[in-house]
C-alpha cells in the first residue's frame, strides 16, 4: 500500500541518475580546463587531476543531494524537501497539480527506474521532479496524486460529484496516431533545415568568438599561411560552409527525430489526451481534455510532399509561450489529423463553416513591410557598396511574390461554436479554437486601417493569443460582439 505520510527517499540508484545529470553540467568545466591546459602549457597530469577532481566532487555532491531529497504528503499537499546549500521545501496543494508525467532516459532505463515530474498550474516555476523511482511505485504515486486532485476538483464543483466515483478512464486501446519508423525518418528529413543550419551557424559562431584565443592558437598556422586564399576564395568557402551545415543539420535532425519521436503513440480517452514517444528516453505526456485551449497544425514545403502535418495541442499555462506546455506531434497524416479533430473539435462539424478573407490591403501591407522597405534599406547601402544595389533588386523581386502569396492566404473560417484561422503559404498553419475557451477579445485599428475601414481582431486564450489580420471593420465588430456573447453565455468551464 502506498504510504506517503512519512518522508520518503527515492531509489538508491537515484545517486547514479543524479550523478550523470550533474556530470553533464560539469562537463563544461572540463572543457575550460582543457582550454586552460593548452593556453598555459601545463602538463597532462594537471588535466587528469582536474577531471578526477570534478568527477569526485560531482559524485559527492550527488550523494549529498540524494540524502537531502525527501518527498511526502502533508495536509493535502505534496511536498518535496531538498537542497544542500539552500534548503527548499516545495509544496503543492493537490488541486493545483496540473499533470503528473513519467519519463525514462537512457540511464534510468539501464537502472530500471523512472523519473516523475509534476506540473502545477500557476506562476511558480519551481521544479517538482523526482529523479529515480521504481516504475510500479512511480505509477502508484501518479495515480494517487491524480485521484486526489480529481477528488479536490469535484469537491469544489458539486455538479461533478459523480465523476468522483468513476474509475480513472482507460485510454482507448487503439492509438489515434502511430508513427512507424519510416514516418519518423521522414519527419527528420523534412525538418526546416535552413532554420536549423542558420541556428547552428549562429551557435558555432558564438562559441568560436567566446573562445577565440584558444581556436586562433589552434588554427593560426593555417590562417597565416592561406590568408590570401581565404579572402579571395570566400565566395567559394561560404557556400561550402553552408552546405556542410545543411548536411549536419539533416543528419542531426534525423537522429534527433528518431530519439524523440520513435514509436510515437497518441491516445485520447474521455478525460485526457496522451502522447508516448522516444527511443532512449520514453516520455509520457498527458493533457486533461478540459485544459486544452486550442489546436494548431502546420506544414512546410517538404512535408507537404509527404502529406505530413505537425499537430500541436496547447494547454492552459502561465507560461503561454513555453513549448513544454504543449503536446507536439510531427508527421501526422491527413486521416489522423481528421480523426483528432473529430474527437477533440466535434463543433467544427456541427454546421458548415463561413469563410472570411483578409482585406486585399493586407497584400499592400505585407509587400511594404517585407519586400519594399527592406529593399530600400539595402538599396541605400548601395551608395557605399554598389553590389548592394543588385541585392536590393533581387530582394524586391523575390519578396514581392512571397508577400503577395502570404497575404492572399489568410482566412478565418467559423461556425456558431468554433473557428479556424488559416494562414501562410509555404509554411501554412491552421489554428482551431472553440469560442468558450476565449479569455477576452480585442479589436485594433490604426490610422491607416481607419481610412480603409478595416481592423485586426485579437483572440486571447490561456495558452496564447491568435490574430486575424485586416478584416473588414463591420465584420470585425460583428464577430467581436458575437464572440463576447458566446463567452458570456457559455457555462462550460474553460479549464
Amino acid at each position: 500500500m502506498l504510504d506517503l505520510s512519512k518522508p520518503q527517499r527515492q531509489s538508491k540508484v537515484g545517486i547514479v541518475v543524479l550523478f550523470f545529470k550533474h556530470l553533464r553540467k560539469a562537463v563544461n568545466f572540463i572543457f575550460y580546463f582543457f582550454i586552460l591546459k593548452y593556453s598555459t602549457n601545463s602538463g597532462m597530469i594537471f588535466l587528469w587531476a582536474a577531471i578526477a577532481a570534478i568527477v569526485i566532487l560531482t559524485l559527492v555532491y550527488s550523494i549529498l543531494v540524494y540524502r537531502k531529497f525527501l518527498f511526502y504528503v502533508e495536509d493535502d499537499q505534496f511536498v518535496i524537501d531538498k537542497g544542500l546549500f539552500k534548503r527548499e521545501k516545495i509544496s503543492v496543494p493537490f488541486e493545483r497539480i496540473q499533470s503528473v508525467h513519467i519519463d525514462q532516459n537512457i540511464i534510468q532505463r539501464a537502472l530500471q527506474v523512472v523519473g516523475l515530474k509534476i506540473d502545477t498550474a500557476g506562476s511558480s516555476t519551481k521544479e517538482m521532479e523526482i529523479a529515480a523511482l521504481p516504475d510500479a511505485y512511480a505509477r502508484s504515486i501518479q495515480e494517487f496524486l491524480i485521484d486526489k486532485k480529481n477528488l479536490e476538483d469535484s469537491e469544489n464543483q458539486i455538479e461533478n460529484i459523480e465523476s468522483e466515483f468513476e474509475e480513472r478512464p482507460k485510454l482507448s486501446s487503439k492509438p489515434m496516431v502511430e508513427l512507424s519508423f519510416l514516418d519518423v525518418l521522414k519527419v527528420g528529413l523534412t525538418e526546416n533545415h535552413l532554420k536549423t543550419s542558420f541556428a547552428l551557424f549562429a551557435l558555432i559562431n558564438g562559441y568560436f568568438w567566446q573562445n577565440q584565443d584558444f581556436f586562433s592558437n589552434f588554427f593560426i598556422d593555417y590562417i597565416e599561411e592561406g590568408q590570401e586564399v581565404w579572402i579571395s576564395k570566400w565566395l567559394l568557402i561560404l557556400p561550402l560552409l553552408l552546405i556542410t551545415l545543411l548536411l549536419i543539420s539533416i543528419v542531426s535532425s534525423v537522429i534527433l527525430s528518431v530519439l524523440k519521436y520513435y514509436g510515437l503513440q497518441f491516445m485520447v480517452s474521455s478525460k485526457e489526451v496522451q502522447k508516448i514517444s522516444g527511443l532512449l528516453k520514453r516520455t509520457e505526456y498527458q493533457i486533461p481534455i478540459d485544459k486544452i485551449q486550442f489546436l494548431k497544425y502546420s506544414s512546410n514545403p517538404l512535408r507537404k510532399l509527404f502529406g505530413l502535418k505537425t499537430v500541436v495541442i496547447k494547454q492552459a499555462s502561465s507560461k503561454a509561450s513555453s513549448d513544454k506546455q504543449s503536446l507536439m506531434m510531427p508527421g501526422c497524416k491527413e486521416f489522423q489529423l481528421e480523426a483528432i479533430l473529430n474527437e477533440l473539435f466535434p463543433e467544427l462539424k456541427l454546421s458548415s463553416l463561413i469563410t472570411f478573407k483578409a482585406n486585399p490591403y493586407l497584400k499592400v501591407q505585407m509587400a511594404l513591410l517585407f519586400a519594399v522597405l527592406p529593399s530600400i534599406v539595402i538599396g541605400l547601402l548601395g551608395f557605399v557598396e554598389p553590389d548592394f544595389l543588385i541585392l536590393s533588386i533581387l530582394w524586391l523581386l523575390i519578396g514581392l511574390p512571397f508577400s503577395y502569396q502570404y497575404a492572399s492566404k489568410m482566412y478565418l473560417d467559423l461556425n456558431s461554436e468554433a473557428m479556424c484561422l488559416r494562414k501562410g503559404w509555404l509554411f501554412p498553419k491552421t489554428e482551431i479554437l472553440k469560442y468558450y475557451k476565449l479569455q477576452s477579445v480585442a479589436l485594433r485599428q490604426n490610422v491607416f486601417q481607419k481610412r480603409r475601414n478595416i481592423a485586426h481582431l485579437d483572440f486571447y486564450t490561456a495558452a496564447g493569443s491568435l490574430r486575424m489580420w485586416q478584416l473588414d471593420a463591420e465584420i470585425a465588430v460583428e464577430l467581436y460582439n458575437y464572440m463576447l456573447y458566446k463567452i458570456e453565455n457559455s457555462d462550460k468551464n474553460w479549464m
Binding site: 456558431s416 477576452s440 485594433r444
Partner: protein, 173 residues
C-alpha cells in the same frame, strides 16, 4: 434588421442582429483631471528633454535654439495626440462584461467577460495621487495584453468599480 448582418450561420439559434452590440453610447468618458495628469506628465518629460537639448545646443556648434525647436515641434505633436486621444478613451460596464478603448493613432478596444476575470486590482501612481486619481486593473488568464487597465478614475470611483467587477465575476468562480 436581419439583412444588416453579414454573417449567417447554418443553425442560427440566435439572430446576429439581435445580439447585444457594444456601442459608443455604452462608453463612459474618463475624468477630465486624467487629461491634466497626462499633460503634467508630458510637461515634466518636455522640461527634462528641453533642458538637455539646450545643453547640447550650447555646447555644440549649432545655434542654441536649433535643437530646442525640434524638441518643441515633437512635443507639440505629442500634446496634440494626447488631447485628441483623450476623447477616444473610455470604459464600458455592461451586464456581462467590462470594456476599455483608447488610441488615436493605434485604436484598440478590449472586452473581458466577467466569467473570465481572474482578479482585479486598484493602483495609483505617485503623480496620480496629486490628482486623486487611480486605475483599475482587470486580469484574465490570457496574458498581459488581454488584461484591461481602466485609468483616469477618481480613487473612490476606482474602488467602487473594482468591488462591482469583483462582485459580478465572483458569481462564476
Amino acid at each position: 434588421m436581419i439583412s444588416d448582418s453579414k454573417i449567417k450561420f447554418d443553425n442560427p439559434t440566435i439572430e446576429m442582429s439581435s445580439l447585444p452590440q457594444l456601442e459608443d453610447v455604452d462608453f463612459q468618458k474618463l475624468e477630465k483631471d486624467y487629461l491634466w495628469l497626462r499633460v503634467t506628465f508630458i510637461s515634466i518629460l518636455f522640461l527634462i528633454v528641453a533642458c538637455s537639448s539646450l545643453i547640447i545646443g550650447v555646447s555644440s556648434n549649432l545655434d542654441w535654439w536649433q535643437p530646442l525647436i525640434i524638441v518643441t515641434v515633437i512635443f507639440s505633436l505629442i500634446y496634440m495626440v494626447e488631447w485628441k486621444g483623450f476623447k477616444i478613451k473610455g470604459y464600458a460596464i455592461r451586464q456581462y462584461d467590462v470594456s476599455f478603448k483608447s488610441g488615436l493613432l493605434f485604436f484598440s478596444m478590449t472586452s473581458v467577460p466577467f466569467n473570465r476575470v481572474q482578479h482585479t486590482e486598484v493602483s495609483q501612481s505617485p503623480l496620480a495621487r496629486l490628482f486623486d486619481l487611480g486605475e483599475v486593473k482587470v486580469f484574465t488568464a490570457g496574458g498581459a495584453s488581454s488584461d484591461i487597465t481602466i485609468s483616469g478614475l477618481k480613487v473612490e470611483e476606482a474602488h467602487r468599480l473594482k468591488d462591482h467587477i469583483t462582485k459580478l465575476s465572483s458569481k462564476y468562480a
